[in-house]
Subunit: 330 residues, 2 copies
């Protein structure tokens, strides 16, 4: 409630002086002390709204993600948060639910609220960032790249797909199916392409894409796809699943069908959150979710602080954790 004027009056100085103590501008020790006392007295907190209006810059960064219920993105969010907090920024978490409409609305808000910058994991790869760019608000792409030339923190999705497929082959499985996300999402397509590149030359499946399913990046998506794959002839003996939630769905269906790994090989890209199965029967390609967040946040803050280097792309490494046990004897 108290304003800078009331503090100034109480301290016997000018409003400008009060402002200065809050902005690291030199003020004599005595006056500074007077101000501090008055601030404590009146329990003054600077009004951030007025400050951002004046400075055209809120100490807030927007983190726009497609699915807040996916632990991959919440870890990433934690990473962003920790770095941002450190640098004095608060984080507004915006959940787009993979909906380009919601995404567009949130990006508009970021502009209208003068937010300092945006970290964006795109819903559909078509977001219009021209408004943000026109107002020179820095944007960093994370997890998924955009149509614009931006700093990006991404994964080598194709390599992750390759790694997942290879680990199954090494364990002795031969007929690898694949479950991936919507074809419009690049990461889904790239990971599947990694699988395809391993499976095609091996020739154990005549037409690999018959064993490929596109589905939603959610538990239900994994369930549906896995059920279809199990009904195939020739049946697959293993599956690469390109997303953690789908992995859970697939494992549920396999478990219901009595084909828990290693009876049926499973390699999942992404950490399996909260699984209660003994963990090491499934191969995992771990993704550095938290690191993606911290890295993106650091890049964004550099931009906010005026860095004007050309856009950089950082590719963070995944880590393969192979299942302990291999395929059953043929």
């Amino acid at each position: 409630m108290a304003t800078i004027y009331e503090v100034a009056a109480a301290a016997g100085v000018s409003p400008a002086t009060v402002s200065r103590v809050y902005n690291g501008v030199p003020v004599s020790a005595e006056k500074a002390e007077l101000v501090r006392a008055a601030v404590a007295e009146l329990r003054f907190t600077p009004n951030r709204t007025a400050r951002s209006l004046r400075r055209k810059n809120a100490e807030v960064i927007a983190l726009v993600i497609p699915d807040i219920e996916n632990p991959y993105f919440t870890s990433l969010a934690r990473g962003v948060e920790d770095v941002a907090q450190e640098a004095g920024y608060s984080v507004v978490l915006c959940n787009t639910d993979e909906d380009p409409g919601k995404e567009a609305r949130y990006l508009e808000i970021a502009v209208a609220e003068n937010m300092a910058g945006v970290i964006l994991a795109e819903a559909d790869g078509r977001a219009d960032l021209s408004e943000l760019i026109a107002r020179s608000r820095p944007v960093v792409a994370v997890d998924r790249s955009t149509l614009f030339d931006l700093d990006s923190v991404i994964l080598d999705n194709r390599a992750a797909g390759v790694a997942a497929a290879r680990t199954l082959i090494n364990s002795g499985y031969r007929r690898l199916a694949c479950i991936t996300g919507p074809a419009e999402i690049d990461t889904a397509e790239e990971r599947a392409e990694g699988w395809r590149s391993v499976v095609s030359p091996s020739g154990s499946l005549e037409r690999p894409d018959d064993h490929l399913r596109y589905s939603s990046f959610r538990v239900e998506g994994g369930r549906d796809a896995m059920a279809e794959l199990l009904a195939l002839d020739p049946a697959p003996d293993a599956v690469v699943v390109t997303n953690n939630l789908m992995g859970v769905g697939a494992l549920q269906v396999l478990s219901e069908a009595g084909r828990v790994p290693p009876a049926f090989g499973v390699a999942v890209i992404g950490d399996l959150p909260f699984t209660t199965l003994t963990p090491n029967a499934t191969s995992i390609v771990r993704l550095p979710a938290r690191d993606m967040g911290t890295t993106a946040a650091r890049m964004l803050i550099e931009r906010i602080n005026g860095d004007t280097e050309p856009a950089r792309t950082v590719i963070l490494p995944h880590e393969v954790v192979a299942a302990a046990s291999g395929a059953p004897a043929l």
Copy 2:
């Protein structure tokens, strides 16, 4: 970038008129049309910062939760978000990490940013809300109640504890242990008290509290506590776990020890996220996470709209999903 003045100039009207079309104040059809055209032309978006400074009220509500990585809270957040969005508010998600210091900082920001209201799941039951209340910013407590007299959306935690314990007794288990959260968190204590009230009279454990463990509301907490309980003599034959993440940890340890349900009875309060075990071997007391969010958001918005009734407390019902199979023959 365009301001209301530029729009006004382009449309040949006064800035006040432009403002009016954005605030539902009557404006003649012709002028309204002129404004609409100019807005489209200049791609004008009202500056929310200026608006909130003037109105002393941002169309933003803060949702303060203790653990963004717990799916219970992300579901709750989804509920809040959906209702808020509907009503034209954006939601700022603040993760306190169960840290009262962070919590205090976020609450200060809510004040400093003139946010319209706060939905708070408290970290420690001691938050100082006097500042918010003094400025008559509505606050709704969710999941955990506070020291202040506020609208609250909570659960009957004791009854949930009773229900969890009863379902195990009904399945034929006799020596029920309990794993609960930090003693400072009321919900943890209340749920444990429910368990105690079932276990004490049955007399099958001489000193029930020897079989009670306080731990952190996280997977690790469940793991640690479960390991300790398994080493006890007399060993329990079942456990009530008062939180979803702890439940996951407990099940992991049991699985590693080869004592998967129903060999060892498990009842968990809270949904088990993403479990890949066949689901129905564990009893679950389902909590209406999303509903808590929607209910809290509705209450908050009523308050924002000026409702001044005395504080209400809503207790949302849980739902017991008993395990399909009972205890093994004794």
